[in-house]
């Protein structure tokens, strides 16, 4: 075939001594859709931003159609035929689609005056290229639906007929039907011979839409595969995490017994929030870990948040130790004995200027007091040290501000905070996200300890393997509701079966 429209050789980039990209080689052909995947911090956005001209690489070359280029600014990237749709909303809410699309490149007439006719016309032309010529281009963008906003963002990127299009997490806020819709648009663009780089953390999607999948891990490309019918999620997830699926993470549960005669700790009846989940019914017993399996966007995080009190739900009841509870805020859930480890731990879990000690004890201050009701330094020290040791948190001292810890250690600090709280019910959303392999088994051990000491644990993980390791039973969630329950002693309590159930309930067209 011909020279790829984009070729990247040996590109590296660092920010303040953190290596974001190391010696990356990458190619893109015209009319090809390549998905770029990797965990948070793997380098996907960095690579995209370099191609989009937001900052230059420290080392390496970029070639467009075989010619060496230096992309010094977003404007330059645009003139070179590179369009990008960013992760964060790049639309101004009060302005209309037409105004947003032409922002920064308005068409003028008679000197400084805006040429509305020309802009509206070109706007409609661009939208029809995306199959949406009937969208109302005069309404403020804030009144559009999510899909329409994504389409408007894409229209903005496609306006100048780019040859290369970067789509950074454009499907993140969308549900399955909306994603299908968007994929039609993307496929149309592919037909126009535009090379597309597609970033998404929804692995299933990437299998559906891409010609190739490129996996980044710790700033390096670890896998570059052509997608074929036999490819499965695990072929992508495995290099993403650096663990081959065949590795046995130490089988942690030695014996298992049925949940008969076990006290019901948490009971959820017919819970629904009208949007993300509905008809949720289950009981959590003491000495039990229940795993929730499903894709991100299936509504599990919202379900968890509603039980804890972070979010509100519309209908249904929740009973904690036989008492009906209505938690309207996290502190109420905590009071009733329900704690949740959220999945965005760095943003929502940490006060970065404060110390390791401060961050670990913030949830448990009441029980760490000493003389005169003042917080006891001895107690906070011993409690913090306990978890620094157990989770192997690498920090020079307890009084180190957490902003100076690495991402993985920051995660551990947040987990430590909740483990210290020692609530009756512990809800964990993605327990080992961003954490190294050794710490993973530590975290599993600690969750099992919680279970053994009479607590109840609800866990969600996109990695079914994890759930298989530690859960007594697994509830499979799809499109916001339960699809199946599989107990540990069931013959189908295994990864292939569960993955199959998850994916067969998701309908994404493969046209």
């Amino acid at each position: 075939m011909t020279e790829p429209i984009l070729r990247i050789n040996g590109v590296s980039k660092s920010f303040y001594s953190v290596n974001a990209l190391k010696n990356v080689d990458f190619t893109l052909k015209a009319g090809e859709i390549v998905s770029l995947v990797g965990t948070n911090g793997a380098g996907k956005s960095t690579l995209c931003n370099i191609i989009a001209g937001i900052y230059p690489p420290d080392e390496g070359q970029i070639l467009l159609n075989g010619e060496l280029v230096s992309i010094s600014s977003p404007n330059m990237a645009e003139s070179l035929g590179i369009g990008i749709v960013h992760q964060e909303p790049t639309l101004v809410p009060r302005l209309s689609i037409a105004e947003n699309i032409f922002l920064g490149k308005e068409k003028l007439k008679n000197g400084p005056f805006l040429d509305f006719e020309v802009m509206k016309r070109e706007c409609r032309e661009t939208l029809s290229k995306l199959g949406h010529e009937n969208m109302d281009i005069n309404r403020p963008v804030s009144t559009l639906s999510l899909v329409e906003m994504e389409i408007a963002s894409i229209a903005k990127a496609v306006l100048l007929n780019p040859k290369i299009l970067l789509l950074d997490e454009v499907t993140a806020p969308l549900n399955y039907m909306e994603v299908n819709h968007l994929f039609k648009v993307i496929r149309d663009l592919k037909k126009q011979q535009i090379g597309i780089i597609f970033i998404s953390h929804k692995i299933k999607e990437t299998l559906v839409i891409s010609d190739r999948v490129v996996v980044l891990r710790d700033g390096k490309i670890v896998s570059d595969m052509v997608v074929d019918k036999k490819m499965e999620e695990k072929h992508i997830i495995s290099p993403m995490l650096g663990v081959t699926i065949t590795d046995d993470i130490e089988d942690v549960i030695k014996d298992y017994s049925e949940t008969e005669n076990r006290e019901v700790l948490l009971e959820v009846n017919d819970l629904s929030n009208g949007k993300d989940f509905h008809n949720i019914n289950f009981q959590l017993h003491r000495n039990e870990i229940i795993g929730f399996a499903g894709l991100k966007g299936a509504g599990i995080t919202e379900l968890f948040s509603s039980i804890q009190g972070i979010m509100r739900y519309k209908s249904g009841t929740i009973l904690m130790e036989d008492e009906q509870i209505f938690c309207k805020r996290p502190s109420e859930g905590l009071q009733k004995g329900i704690a949740m480890v959220t999945n965005d731990r760095q943003k929502d879990g940490l006060a970065t200027f404060l110390t390791v000690r401060d961050n670990i004890v913030i949830g448990s201050l009441e029980k760490l007091t000493g003389i005169l009701g003042l917080v006891s330094q001895t107690k906070t020290t011993s409690s913090s040290n306990e978890f620094v040791y157990k989770l192997d948190i690498k920090t020079p001292s307890l009084d180190q501000p957490v902003q100076f810890l690495s991402g993985g250690n920051q995660q551990k600090v947040v987990i430590a905070k909740w483990l210290l709280k020692n609530s009756q019910v512990l809800i964990v959303d993605e327990p080992t996200r961003g954490v190294d392999v050794k710490a993973k088994s530590e975290i599993y051990k600690l969750l099992l300890q919680q279970k053994d000491s009479g607590k109840g644990v609800l866990v969600y993980s996109p990695e079914v393997r994890e759930l298989i390791n530690i859960c007594d039973r697994i509830l499979i969630v799809s499109n916001g509701t339960f699809v199946e329950e599989i107990k540990r002693n069931s013959p189908v309590f295994n990864e292939p079966y569960i993955l199959d159930v998850i994916h067969s309930n998701v309908s994404i067209e493969v046209t």
């Binding site: 996290p330 929502d348 401060d358 949830g363 007091t369 009701g373």
Partner: protein
């Protein structure tokens, strides 16, 4: 979880106190306090050299007297800034609460009654502001700007725009001009309040929650902290400080006028920022504010001694606020870049 503290004998307590002490020192050195101490020494040194009357005891008393008033507002400003907000209404609240309380002088039994009432009014107005910010979801900027106008107007209403001379209020006079072993009472109270605040902020659960709320209010909320309560309490404290400072000022100037507190919100914020309190919240200390108050007031005193009038002081206060805030913004940028 181990329970080592079952028997806290004296050696444990000593260990704890030493640990606490060294930690405080470490924390201070990491913050800008060391720069502040140098700055203070420079100002005092410069003053002593250039102006013979600067270091005279009477002048030092003058500095302390004013420093106490400004310092108290600085403590209030510090707490609100720590929790991630800002209170521009402090000056207006100062006038309003002092005047409102002053209305009761001679009308109720007990010399201390109007004083206690004023403090209560301070707590109430502060709570009011805190509540509208947390419950009605008005941004703090608009809330305190609106409150500034509201209470300023109310202060004028109370006095009908007139100067009211304080009479029959010996306790106020004592507050304003009295001495305790040669030290002006306002300064003594300032130090006492600072000590109490320091203990609360550093050693109580409330204090730790306050810092956390300022550093990341969402994370605090998710961790079970009642952020609305903490913010409202901060504003209530700031209101009380305004009221307290107002009474000292009234006692000193011997009059109740609607423009009593004008400009004090400015000084309060300037002192807090000078002392290392970050405008975004979560960073700052009482010790810093204390040093900031001393440095700031010494500087102003020095300039006043050089014969420049009140208007020059006003200009300098405005300029100092801008300079201090800009300087700290630049310093913090550098810190971030080094990360």
């Amino acid at each position: 979880m181990t329970n080592e503290t079952a028997n806290q004998n004296s050696s444990d307590i000593l260990q704890e106190k030493t640990n606490g002490f060294t930690n405080t020192i470490k924390k201070l050195m990491r913050s800008n306090v060391s720069i502040l101490v140098i700055l203070f020494v420079l100002v005092v040194g410069f003053g002593g050299i250039t102006n013979p009357s600067f270091l005279r005891f009477q002048n030092i008393q003058t500095i302390m007297r004013a420093c106490g008033i400004i310092g108290i507002t600085g403590l209030g400003a510090t707490v609100v800034l720590l929790v991630g907000e800002m209170d521009i209404s402090m000056g207006a609240v100062m006038s309003f609460t002092t005047l409102l309380g002053g209305m009761f002088i001679g009308k109720l039994p007990g010399q201390a009654t109007p004083i206690i009432l004023t403090l209560i009014f301070g707590l109430l107005t502060g709570s009011f502001i805190g509540l509208i910010i947390t419950k009605l979801k008005i941004t703090a900027i608009m809330a305190t700007l609106g409150a500034m106008n509201l209470f300023s107007g109310l202060a004028y209403l109370l006095t009908s725009g007139l100067n009211i001379l304080l009479y029959n209020a010996p306790l106020y006079k004592k507050m304003g001009t009295g001495l305790w072993f040669g030290i002006p009472i306002s300064f003594v109270i300032f130090l006492g309040l600072a000590l109490v605040l320091h203990i609360v902020l550093t050693y109580t659960a409330f204090g730790k929650k306050l810092y956390f709320t300022g550093a990341n209010s969402k994370a605090a909320w998710l961790s079970g902290v009642n952020t609305s309560l903490i913010k409202t309490a901060s504003f209530a404290f700031s209101g009380m400080c305004s009221a307290l400072a107002g009474m000292f000022l009234a006692g000193q100037t011997n009059q109740l006028i609607a423009t009593l507190g004008v400009g004090y919100e400015l000084s309060g914020i300037a002192i807090a920022v000078l002392g290392g309190t970050a405008i975004g919240g979560g960073r700052g200390s009482v010790v810093g504010t204390l040093l900031g108050a001393l440095t700031y007031q010494s500087l102003l005193n020095l300039l006043a001694l050089s014969g420049l009038g009140t208007y020059v002081e006003q200009v300098l206060r405005g300029a100092l606020l801008i300079i201090i805030v800009v300087a700290y913004a630049t310093l913090n940028k550098k810190q971030h870049a080094l990360r």
